[in-house]
């Protein structure tokens, strides 16, 4: 599992250009699939036939990560940017960044900015260029960059990496695809695009598939980091079964089924209520005539920073829970 995590979080895959990670995932999962397609938006749809072809189970994890887009290059060679997805400026600042073509630089804030005045217009990237012309040889308006990969193991089997949101979900989907010994329903492993800008990719994928049951795999804020309030989920507290976030109230059918499977298989679990944020769950729940939808969440600290943190026990628990769902289905 940690190999998958490292491989996936090292890939360049910012919202709107997920092709690099898509190709990597396709290679990892191809051996376990009956059919693979890529839809017009770029979603990777991996199909595995099940025992009961009357029902479709859609599983979704998003491939994209937040990043920055070049909007303007100053005469001095300094590059101005705007955000792609929900960037927390302070979380990303003064970190190295990397463009798709390999150009690297640093993301900084105008040095005369007071803390209360920090906003996107004060951000810039310095790639070391001395002039606009020199910079333009490497980057152009519309190019996208992300923070450079980070991957570290800490105490208690806790891992820190960038873009665990939602590479960890992608890794769990691939892990479950490998470990599942049987398939209760026709199963679609969907690696979605453009989730960070409003769950866009999952809408078209869900429309194409029209699932009966749908489960997303995404991160959720662990409420036990310093300064977090009113969030029941704890790092190390087990696989989180989502009850509600800002975009969806999960279907009781799914919440109960996941609870039953967790108890039956002795997987540690906890319930999640998130006061903000949205996931692909909502897109799947509302596709066509609608379906029962829910989410298995991975408790994560410091989301949308370069140093997102998960507990391997939680990750393995999520994978085991997902495998149980794929094998046994909804009772």
């Amino acid at each position: 599992m940690h190999n998958l995590m490292k491989k996936f979080t090292s890939a360049f895959s910012v919202t709107g250009d997920e092709s690099e990670l898509r190709n990597i995932i396709q290679d990892e999962i191809a051996a376990f699939a009956d059919n693979i397609t890529v839809d017009p938006m770029g979603n990777l749809i991996v199909f595995k036939k099940g025992e009961n072809s009357d029902k479709k189970l859609m599983l979704a994890a998003h491939m994209d990560e937040i990043g920055f887009v070049v909007t303007y290059i100053e005469d001095s060679g300094i590059i101005r940017v705007s955000n792609v997805g929900g960037i927390h400026i302070v979380h990303s600042s003064f970190h190295t960044v990397r463009f798709k073509n390999g150009t690297t630089g640093v993301l900084c804030i105008d040095s005369d900015t007071k803390p209360e005045d920090i906003k996107m217009g004060k951000l810039f990237i310095d790639i070391g260029a001395k002039t606009k012309k020199e910079a333009e040889k490497k980057v152009k308006i519309g190019d996208i960059c992300a923070v450079t990969p980070v991957f570290q193991k800490l105490l208690n089997n806790r891992y820190v990496a960038k873009a665990l949101d939602d590479r960890i979900g992608c890794a769990i989907l691939v892990d479950a695809a490998r470990n599942s010994k049987k398939f209760a329903y026709d199963t679609y492993y969907v690696f979605t695009v453009q989730e960070e800008v409003g769950c866009r990719g999952s809408k078209t994928a869900a429309f194409t598939i029209m699932p009966d049951y749908a489960v997303a795999l995404d991160v959720t804020t662990a409420g036990d980091a310093p300064g977090e309030k009113n969030l029941p989920v704890k790092l190390g507290g087990g696989a989180a079964i989502k009850i509600k976030d800002n975009s969806v109230i999960c279907s009781k059918v799914i919440v109960d089924a996941l609870t039953t499977l967790a108890e039956k298989n002795k997987i540690e679990y906890q319930y999640e209520v998130l006061l903000m944020g949205g996931t692909d769950t909502s897109s799947m729940q509302l596709a066509g005539a609608g379906c029962a939808a829910g989410c298995i969440s991975i408790p994560t600290r410091y989301i949308h920073s370069p140093v997102e943190m998960v507990d391997m026990a939680d990750v393995k628990g999520c994978s085991a829970l997902l495998t149980a769902l794929i094998e046994d289905g909804i009772k």
Partner: protein, 341 residues
């Protein structure tokens, strides 16, 4: 193209009330299309057969609706309280003339004379719900003879040439797109193409969503008007785009991340045909491309826009030659086709 543009801009057709512009467009295209239909929501979609049938379904889109106003309540004194249709900055409407309904009744959005304002009122914009329209009636009964709750209105038509080769008018967003699509339909096409004129883009791209579901295009080119911030005192990095710099190609805006391959394809086509273009450099705004991209099973989308100053106000301004660059670009793209895009 410009005469047609004038007629289109002078229509009174805000979101949800597109009858006038739709009739005008149908009149202009009916002799040049293979077929056209008006769906039950009011969207107009035309199909023109070309020399070849492409492997991917191509759709061009320009929305018919414009921003406007709706009459909400008539007071005992004969004044009309109203609401805005679409997004309009309340600061651009005080004191403006508007045209109401099928009869194009003239009304003024009342603005308190400066002599009557208190010190703490000066310079502050009144909220929309406190503004009202004066059509010259002095009581409710006489006003109700002319106006009903639910009547719609837009800024008064004012299409004119301005300065050295510029145009000013209301509703260049997106009657420019409509006029361009109609121009293109007048000529023979290389490939079969759909032309869509959706309703209700200004209130949430609803029309486009319906068209996407019914027609399932593969490639969509949205022709729009986009905000240009190249006015005095604006820093270059925040212009978004400039007048006189050609067709605007967007790579991303508030609602859509455009298909990267299509963006490159369009840029290359422009370069090969020596067409002036620019890349939008502020991530803001949105158009019906988002509805086409996310609609049904998805589509690949691109937007080509006219840089427009003072968008969503009574007087938009565009540069004539920019409009012709866009026409050249779209014609070149349709000629080339999207088989290799």
């Amino acid at each position: 193209m410009l005469d047609r543009l004038k007629n289109y801009c002078n229509c009174i057709s805000p979101s949800g009330c597109e009858d006038e512009i739709r009739e005008l467009i149908i009149n202009d295209i009916k002799d040049y299309t293979t077929s056209y239909e008006v769906d039950r929501m009011g969207n107009l979609i035309a199909f023109k057969k070309g020399k070849k049938t492409p492997t991917k379904k191509i759709l061009l889109s320009a929305h018919m609706d414009e921003i406007g106003f709706m009459m909400k309540y008539i007071s005992d004194e004969g004044y009309i309280y109203f609401d805005i249709i679409g997004g309009i900055d309340p600061r651009v409407i005080g004191g403006r003339r508007i045209s109401i309904g099928k009869n194009k009744t003239t009304g003024i959005i009342a603005s308190k004379a400066i002599h009557l304002q208190k010190a703490n009122e000066k310079g502050i914009c009144v909220p929309i719900e406190e503004m009202y329209i004066d059509i010259g009636c002095t009581d409710r009964i006489s006003c109700e003879k002319v106006i009903s709750v639910g009547d719609y209105a837009t800024f008064q038509p004012n299409f004119e040439a301005l300065g050295d080769n510029f145009i000013k008018s209301k509703a260049l967003d997106d009657r420019f797109g409509c006029a361009l699509l109609v121009e293109i339909m007048q000529k023979e096409l290389e490939y079969d193409t759909y032309f869509a004129f959706p309703i209700c883009e200004e209130v949430g791209t609803d029309g486009a969503k319906e068209i996407a579901y019914n027609f399932r295009p593969d490639i969509v080119i949205v022709i729009e008007a986009t905000t240009a911030g190249d006015i005095v005192d604006a820093p270059k990095a925040r212009h978004a785009c400039d007048l006189r710099s050609g067709a605007v190609i967007s790579h991303m805006d508030g609602g859509t991340i455009y298909d990267k391959q299509l963006v490159e394809f369009v840029k290359k086509t422009a370069e090969e045909n020596k067409i002036k273009y620019q890349i939008k450099n502020v991530i803001a705004g949105g158009n019906e491309a988002s509805a086409y991209q996310k609609g049904a099973s998805g589509a690949r989308v691109i937007a080509i826009s006219a840089p427009t100053r003072y968008i969503h106000s009574a007087s938009n301004v565009v540069y004539n030659d920019d409009l012709f660059e866009i026409k050249e670009l779209v014609s070149a793209l349709l000629e080339r086709g999207f088989e290799n895009a």
